[in-house]
Symmetry: C2
Subunit: 103 residues, 2 copies
């Protein structure tokens, strides 16, 4: 089985405006919370979200292109993981602060 | 001289999506950085920004309505301060992470 990573910015290409914009949306925050609870990654379809498949794909792409998550294909599945190490290195405290927000 | 505070959400009304949306914009980040360096507050016109007065006013209102800053009128001046205590209580680490971002 070959795995392949979808395109994403390198750590030094990540911009704080893009990260904040990507995170400032309720469904995308839900995705981030689910990923934070699954360090080994989640198949995109397995995150419970109140949106259509195409909206889900759009939100996941927005988060990936901003540098918030990584997605690899694993056979026919797409597995996403939070880029916690990169985000913690760039903006120490940001992710923890967001995840501790009242829901 | 009477001072008056412009309307803003109470701490418990602040929503993380709104805060992130408000912060995810380059000019508004510039405002936040200036306010972070001036705990006593800054007159709105004194923040150097590459935008018109009406755009500046729009950004300041967006930040105030999201709960990120407070504005009081002091005679004819409007003085803004970062709501650091509220944001740190709600989202510990968020603001520090954003302010430590490479510019």
């Amino acid at each position: 089985m070959t795995t392949k990573s979808l395109p994403q910015p390198d750590r030094e290409e990540i911009r704080v405006e893009s990260v904040l914009q990507a995170l400032g949306e309720p469904v995308r925050l839900q995705i981030i919370r689910a990923l934070a609870d699954a360090p080994q990654g989640i198949a995109c379809g397995d995150i419970e979200l109140p949106v259509t498949a195409s909206t889900r794909a759009h939100h996941l792409r927005t988060l990936r292109e901003a540098g918030v998550l990584s997605t690899r294909t694993d056979g026919t599945r797409r597995i996403s993981t939070l880029r916690r190490e990169d985000l913690d290195a760039l903006y120490p405290g940001l992710l923890t602060g967001i995840l501790s927000a009242p829901r």
